[in-house]
């Protein structure tokens, strides 16, 4: 379905996930985060950027261990944990962070 986000027409699914990766802009991330009740900080952006880079390379969001490892490497070992990611994205790093990053929602037994 169509939606307007950060002043642009975009295609989203029923839960507001962007359907086209290339329609995403940083302004949309801010708006998506607001909808989720999250105020984007540099720490949030670090995760969003890692997610987008990984997706560009592999066409899937990173598995949780791959993500925590990448975060630890980029931001320091104390941040490379599931707990840290949940602090930033309380409803789950996989789903909430993916939404803000403009990635499809990971679905399965997750």
């Amino acid at each position: 379905m169509e939606a307007v986000m950060a002043g642009q027409n975009v295609e989203v699914d029923e839960e507001g996930y962007l359907l086209q990766l290339d329609q995403w802009t940083p302004e949309m991330a801010e708006e998506l985060a607001r909808q989720e009740g999250i105020a984007m900080t540099p720490e949030h952006w670090e995760i969003v950027n890692i997610l987008r880079e990984y997706y560009q390379e592999y066409q899937i969001a990173p598995a949780i261990r791959v993500l925590t490892k990448a975060v630890a490497k980029a931001l320091g070992p104390e941040k490379g944990s599931n707990k840290y990611l949940y602090e930033l994205f309380p409803l789950g790093p996989g789903k909430q962070a993916c939404k803000i990053a403009g990635l499809p929602k990971p679905t399965g037994c997750v």
Partner: protein, 496 residues
């Protein structure tokens, strides 16, 4: 979703007052055209949907004798009424199993029984109207096909089979559920529910090997697509992707490593789950199962082992032979397929693993039986093995083990609330409420015995509890796998 409230945790499972229509507005997203046609269904509701639905019902009745029997023999005794976790959680009377069955049965009566054809009003027969169809879509997606009600039914009527038939009828007329159908489509093209492509899977396994090396100083491998390996491990793709699932995957790897078993994963059959079961569709179920056969042939393995996944084990244990057999090319000295718990339990009993249960001393553990394992399959060579084997493993790897109320375990176990294709966010309210009976039983042993770890052998249970426990103010880390405990306790290195 912030307005979702969990029932209060009292430790008691109270039968709620009936509340008409309490969950009538909870329904899953409808699958769009592309998702439907991809897995062989009409893209949207067909014009002559009513005639086609009745025709499909007739087709299923002729194919599945059980369905016809289940629709005919209910005497409305009421034994099942308070046995469904969704009824207990929502109070909606249409979630009483007998009422859920009646949604289909009333239409069956109208078109397939003499009374219903000539005097429908006298026998409670209903025309298949648009309202009835909408009601089907709502309430047949409020059944997790856990089969608990069938344990208490004096006739053994299996509501799961009725809900599968209803979903199959709806899919056949172009009204499918997005969550399950999207996932089935991903398995057909990519090989797993999550849609993890080969390269990402290889990268993920490499990361896990590096981590295992860092934490144990041992080269625990997670091999992918290794031709000539003895064992093909087929596990739910959530084991690659999520917490706490991944801890269990590392546990399987450590068991194979320590036992010296040569094994491999396959990127082609990178999924144990088979959502074809949930939608009652044989063709999709078969197509998914055939991937396991193909991978076994291509890799030349001798054994097939299934990871911790409830309904996958049902499909594998009960149907794999007819869906994808014959398996005469595998080593006949081992069961086909074998559950990873059977493998580990056997090794423990033969003294082939060195275990240090004090590694789990921070936990007081209980075991949550997953419905498809408990009520639709078996393990080992003795009745009840599906209950005893996972418990046997837990007791071998952890010192403190406590059972929950026996009315809520073994074949009387309560569903986690997210099974049967309902593990999707738009049903979260239902999932939180449906988890109530299990959460009450857990709460009791948390209070009485300090239980802080509930072990399960199902990817859906693990994902569901991780998500819903915080609504009950229970830490999400309370749920974990059996092989997660094995992973903690197994002593790696040279054998003495």
């Amino acid at each position: 979703m912030a307005d979702i409230k969990a029932p209060e945790l009292t430790g008691r499972i109270d039968v709620p007052a009936v509340s008409e229509g309490a969950s009538a507005e909870i329904r899953p997203h409808v699958a769009g055209e592309a998702l439907m046609t991809k897995i062989g269904f009409p893209g949207k509701l067909v014009d002559d949907w009513q005639a086609r639905a009745i025709e499909k019902m007739g087709d299923l009745l002729s194919k599945y004798r059980s369905l016809q029997v289940f629709l005919d023999i209910c005497v409305q005794c009421g034994s099942c009424t308070d046995k469904c976790h969704y009824f207990l959680g929502t109070g909606d009377p249409k979630n009483m199993p007998v009422a859920r069955q009646e949604l289909l049965r009333s239409v069956y009566r109208r078109y397939f029984t003499p009374g219903g054809k000539y005097v429908p009003g006298w026998v409670g027969a209903r025309d298949l109207t648009e309202d009835v169809l909408k009601e089907w879509f709502v309430y047949f997606h409020q059944c997790s096909q856990c089969r608990r009600c069938s344990v208490f039914c004096p006739y053994g009527i299996d509501t799961a089979e009725i809900s599968m038939a209803a979903r199959e009828i709806m899919d056949s007329i172009g009204m499918g559920q997005k969550y399950s159908n999207e996932i089935i489509g991903k398995v057909h093209t990519i090989g797993n529910n999550l849609g993890i492509p080969d390269r990402a899977l290889a990268d993920t396994l490499e990361t896990l090997e590096e981590e295992a090396k860092e934490s144990t100083n041992v080269d625990v491998k997670l091999p992918l697509n290794v031709k000539g390996a003895d064992v093909l491990l087929v596990t739910p793709s959530a084991d690659f992707f999520s917490e706490p699932h991944v801890e269990g995957l590392v546990g399987y790897a450590k068991v194979f490593h320590q036992a010296g078993i040569s094994w491999t994963l396959s990127s082609y059959a990178s999924e144990a789950a088979n959502f074809g079961l949930f939608i009652g569709n044989y063709d999709n179920m078969r197509k998914i199962a055939q991937r396991i056969r193909q991978a076994a042939i291509d890799l030349g393995v001798k054994r097939i082992v299934i990871g911790e996944c409830g309904h996958a084990w049902r499909v594998a244990y009960s149907f794999l032979n007819t869906l994808a057999g014959p398996w005469d090319f595998l080593d006949s000295r081992y069961p086909v397929p074998q559950h990873v718990c059977e493998v580990t339990y056997d090794l423990i009993n033969r003294g082939a693993l060195k275990l240090d249960p004090t590694a789990n001393d921070q936990y007081t553990v209980t075991f949550h039986d997953s419905c498809n394992v408990a009520r639709a399959s078996r393990m080992g060579d003795r009745p009840g093995g599906q209950f005893e084997i996972p418990r046997g493993i837990v007791k071998a790897v952890a010192n403190k083990f406590v059972e929950m109320d026996p009315e809520t375990t073994r074949d009387r176990t309560f569903c986690c609330g997210g099974g049967g294709g309902l593990l999707t966010d738009e049903l979260l309210d239902l999932r939180v409420k449906g988890a109530m009976p299990r959460m009450q039983a857990l709460k009791r042993v948390m209070d009485s015995d300090g239980v802080n770890y509930m072990a399960s052998i199902c990817a859906i249970c693990k994902a569901q509890f991780t998500k819903i426990m915080p609504y009950y103010k229970v830490p999400r880390e309370t749920i974990g796998g059996v092989h997660q405990l094995v992973s903690n306790a197994i002593v790696l290195g040279a054998k003495e």
